[in-house]
Symmetry: C2
Subunit: 346 residues, 2 copies
């Protein structure tokens, strides 16, 4: 009886924490007819809108390290990165489902931190927790399904780029990778309070939802996706879906400008990290040449940079300031190796 | 380069297999605007319908055993059990997302078997694969999100039961648990070809979608849920959501009638298994007394059995044929222990 009683207490505690989180995540502000506590959640879709569906693994040892990443950041990031897929379609978040498996020892303090970060992200991005599935396991496993909405026919796809289109990226590329390397090098603590922009970018990425919505509403983009695995890998996917190639001007790339970087991480190269670093959750998009001047230099403080153009020749090329070309090879995050392959240097 | 090349081949192979599966799962027959291959899937909801959202873990070592369960059955069951939640609301399936993490050694033969079972279930229940997330990991992890639809306001909830309502269950209770015990006792092989009804029920459960739809369309039920963790646990949840109690007549319970059961599994008790066995994926529903005669004895070959009544006193009681009462304690599947607690015998 005592073992059984203990189990019930653990389960009740978890459900209580998650239900409270659901309420704190702004559930009542959205068209959720039913949240946690029944067989399924019920959601009232907007008329004349399509539903956007995306799910993302966030697994201990692959996507985060329990001894390096603050619980609060794990909670924030597991939702933020799934929301980045909604941003990439130009959509608005509607709600999300959380599947969580975790060891008993994490159910108290760690879970509070996790739920704290998760609910902050849910409120900030207007995406309430609608339901989920919980179980206990030796390692910590997270899966997030995000539901979004977009006016029918307006979603930005990967497949719409045409030769001559101008390629843009938002933000500065490689900051999140630098943050990861800093965490790994143990020059920083697990506190999660650092104000360093690179660490913030790695721990608390901000999905570019407003930017994605603005670009699609104004019909400015022909193709769009988010940068999750590094520009070299993600541009390869966009070009493959659109059956085109691309030329990227290396000197135009918005690399991370960090004073003292060489001293901190002597082995890292800014261009290399900008091309192949993952987890930036910025947007990569293509714009017809005759509309490209309508793209502002920045949007809500985030720089928007022209980095190259789409070509009919199905190759990805890097062009340096002297006009010298070399192939751009997809060397970003690979879900089947769990490592980032270092690029071969020039 | 060779290692990188190998990784690309593995990834390409997996995506190819899953994309083919998506096409074979009946994708084109449903309002899926976009499936696998973009940042997210796009789905066109039916006007005047609510969207049903549910997600389910299906994890190696907790929900299935790689050395006991055929890959085909794992593929079938991970979708069927999530669809059971849609059945429990009275809804129709629309599409699903698959998150899969698996070791490299399973990518060939095992994955083919898994995808085979998964696509058979997807076609049978008209629920095409819309997207997902894949990664490699030492152990096999599955998470399925199912999206369903139901006419606005018609969903059957757990919370609607009132004192005096008659309690029904579909099917015979405990068959799936017997199947699991048989698999565990190693009296059967991993072939998955057995025609034993208990093994079939454990390996290839059928979500009661048509029954759920019929009951809600005819406005016959006040509350409904699926039986996934055992009657004792699930009835506790229904009563808790409805703020009521229940009396169950033991002699009315549709136990598994298996000739020679005692010889095969001498330790198991039919009543015990009917009350506490999990994985049946039958429906538990309550019907106002004045409508209970409208419930047929069976529906599409599945028996529907009156097993008790809802009470205002918030207790769960078992009543034997002599009118003797004893408490019914929730002792089914507990996600925080991963075992079924044996009930204390009478």
């Amino acid at each position: 009886m005592s073992k059984f009683g203990e189990r019930r207490i653990i389960e009740d505690r978890l459900i209580e924490i998650v239900e409270r989180a659901a309420n704190r995540s702004g559930r009542k502000s959205r068209p959720l007819k039913l949240g946690i506590g029944d067989d399924a959640a019920l959601f009232l879709p907007k008329p004349s809108h399509e539903t956007i569906l995306t799910c993302d693994w966030f697994l201990e040892g692959i996507h985060f390290l329990l001894d390096k990443h603050p619980a609060d950041a794990i909670g924030w990031k597991c939702l933020a990165r799934a929301l980045s897929d909604v941003a990439a379609m130009g959509g608005q978040p509607a709600c999300f489902l959380l599947s969580l498996a975790l060891p008993k020892k994490l159910i108290d303090r760690w879970l509070k931190g996790f739920i704290g970060g998760l609910t902050r992200a849910a409120r900030k991005f207007h995406c309430p927790l609608a339901g989920g599935d919980m179980t206990r396991r030796a390692d910590t496993l997270i899966n997030v399904t995000v539901v979004g909405e977009i006016a029918a026919g307006q979603a930005a796809l990967r497949s719409g780029a045409s030769p001559g289109d101008v390629i843009f990226v938002s933000g500065r590329l490689g900051l999140a990778e630098l943050g990861l390397q800093l965490l790994r090098s143990q020059r920083t603590t697990k506190s999660g309070n650092s104000k360093d922009s690179w660490l913030q970018k790695h721990l608390y990425p901000e999905p570019r939802l407003h930017l994605g919505q603005s670009l699609t509403e104004k019909h400015l983009v022909t193709a769009m996706m988010d940068l999750s695995d590094g520009l070299s890998s993600d541009l390869t996917r966009l070009c493959s879906a659109s059956r085109v190639g691309a030329r990227i001007a290396t000197e135009k790339l918005p690399t991370a400008q960090i004073a003292g970087l060489k001293a901190l991480l002597p082995k890292f190269d800014q261009l290399d990290i900008a091309l192949h670093g993952g987890d930036d959750y910025e947007l990569l998009f293509t714009v017809p040449r005759n509309k490209s001047r309508k793209i502002p230099k920045s949007f809500q403080g985030v720089p928007l940079t022209e980095v190259g153009e789409i070509t009919s020749q199905r190759k990805l090329l890097l062009v340096d300031s002297n006009g010298k070309e070399r192939p751009l090879i997809a060397e970003g995050w690979d879900p089947f190796s769990h490592v980032r392959k270092r690029s071969t240097k020039k």
